[in-house]
């Protein structure tokens, strides 16, 4: 088979995987924007232990036992990448970028155990993560990935609607983020396709398919549920944790 056909086949398989979720209608009415699209505005958080490790694992001192959220169980690493992953795991208590309060990236920010807020207009969604208070914009105005991209912490996100499912194509990442506390990782060639859809008015099913030819032998998918924070007056409380090392030096204090 010629190379272009192989690429085309790969793209088709990837597209099929990314779209693999069944599209059962949500239970009950869901919030909608004036344009009729589902309105995901709200503050969301998973109850999953995914951030401790995406793959199935038994209990250990730094993580509860967990059945994992990876379709098929394990991440299909290339041999060399698997070795890197093993090293990352051994060094996780020092090397996890979250410990430096680095922006968590996509998809980790979605299933990290701190809330994030979605704000939605017809033309875009804004995702504000409490952790680091970083901001991601998902364009839903028909715009495309830029021709002159940088390597962004959160990638470049272009969304479209597939019925009531928001499908987001994300690429142009840097390679500084991990996928969890267990050292699962990616390169700057990471490409993520997310599918966001309501199961009911207070529950979102989030699926992400990841491909990265430098790290994985084939695309793979994960899925978590996100729950709406419904506590009265619940709000994000900015967590600029990267300032903790030096913030005690400010402001000047009055003499005692």
């Amino acid at each position: 088979m010629k190379l272009p056909s192989l690429l085309a086949l790969g793209a088709t398989v990837f597209a099929l995987m990314a779209g693999a979720a069944g599209a059962a209608a949500p239970v009950g009415k869901i919030p909608r924007l004036p344009n009729g699209k589902p309105d995901f505005s709200g503050i969301w958080e998973t109850t999953s232990a995914a951030d401790h490790g995406l793959e199935p694992h038994g209990g250990r001192r730094d993580a509860p036992p967990f059945a994992g959220i990876v379709d098929g169980g394990s991440i299909p690493y290339l041999p060399k990448a698997l070795e890197q992953r093993r090293k990352n795991f051994e060094q996780r208590e020092q090397a996890d970028p979250r410990l430096k309060c680095y922006t968590l990236g996509v998809p980790r920010g979605v299933y990290y155990r701190e809330p994030f807020q979605l704000l939605q207009r017809a033309e875009d969604l804004t995702q504000v993560f409490q952790f680091g208070h970083s901001v991601r914009t998902i364009a839903t105005n028909g715009t495309q990935h830029p021709d002159n991209p940088n390597d962004w912490w959160l990638g470049d996100s272009r969304g479209r609607w597939d019925g009531d499912t928001l499908v987001v194509d994300v690429k142009h990442f840097n390679d500084e983020t991990w996928l969890d506390r267990s050292g699962n990782f990616h390169s700057d060639a990471l490409h993520v396709v997310e599918r966001w859809r309501y199961l009911d008015a207070n529950t979102i099913e989030y699926r992400a398919t990841l491909e990265d030819p430098q790290v994985y032998s084939r695309p793979w998918s994960l899925s978590v549920l996100l729950h709406r924070h419904r506590e009265a007056n619940f709000q994000l409380v900015e967590n600029y944790c990267y300032t903790l090392d030096y913030d005690a030096h400010y402001p000047p204090r009055p003499p005692k």
Partner: protein, 371 residues
Amino acid sequence: MNPHLHHAPEAPLPLWERGWGEGLQATARPSLQPSPARGERVHARLRQRLVKTALIVATVLALSPYSDAQTPPGTAPTPYRSGGGGGGISQERTYPLIDSGKWTGKRLRDGQPDVQGHWSNTIANHNNWTDPQGGIPGDPATRGRPAGPREERAISRVTDPADGQIPFQPWAKAAQEDFLAHFHNPTQPQYIEPLARCAPGGVPKSFIWHGYEIRQYPGLVVFLFNSGTRFVYLDGRPHLPANIKLWNADSRGRWEGNTLVVDVTNHNGKALFGRTGEFISENGHITERYVFSNDGKGYNYVATFDDPTVYTRPWTATIPARRWTADDKPNGWHFETRLAKHDGKERIVEREERICHENNGGFGNTAQPGG
């Protein structure tokens, strides 16, 4: 990454690195690469880029219309300069007063005046709080700053009291002067301006830092600053518990005609107001009025600062701002945007990711105390 060298100056930096400072410091840039491990080899490239930036800034400053205005500063309306693509920091000497009153412009579906879009201050950056176009006092490199009389530059941001000075208590005045005296050669960590470490700009410095975007939602106004993000809730909810202190404080607002009135508490006081070291403490209370002009082109930020720990009486600051639109050319200071790629003809402005913390833990890679 923060390629923009972290100005916390180890003395003496080369001219291009100290530059006019503004374009060259810890601005949250789209992350190009630098992990700490790669920092070294990236450095040379960054220097080249910085030299270019300094030259551009120099050119823009040379063209800036310091001497255009014939009226006393702050007294006469000055037309907003349109676009031009200048990345210049110092711009207008004067600004129009805007009266609070009715809003006759566009509204959003929840009834709020629609003030969404891109904005920046029209006077100068955070180099100097009370003499905004006067540079950083004690700066060993004068770099062509206007040496003329004070009257030739924009008035103080302090618009009450009339002397343009913050009514500091003696200890606080001494602390501010101590910060400024050490700014150019910081021998202790507290003399490093927090923004140089990629800390959030906070209230009110974020309004005199880079350009920023306002997005509005039912019951909510969101400011996306170059460094930091701020939510203003309009739904009448109570403030957070008093012991929670935040870089961007806790904001509760309401619209009164063309004016967004915001009650600001829970301030951690850490961000400082600028390179001259003015500050508020965690006991401070700020009442902000954002007075928007009905033509949608500008607004004045008029805020009263009250803090029995730091000031002898409440005082007021005024910071004028202008709107930037798709008709303006993106630039590296006031309007850090790009045009979106799409199939249509419309010019769609996009804000880029602004993340600036990964090299700045502790003292940061380069924000080191000197001495």
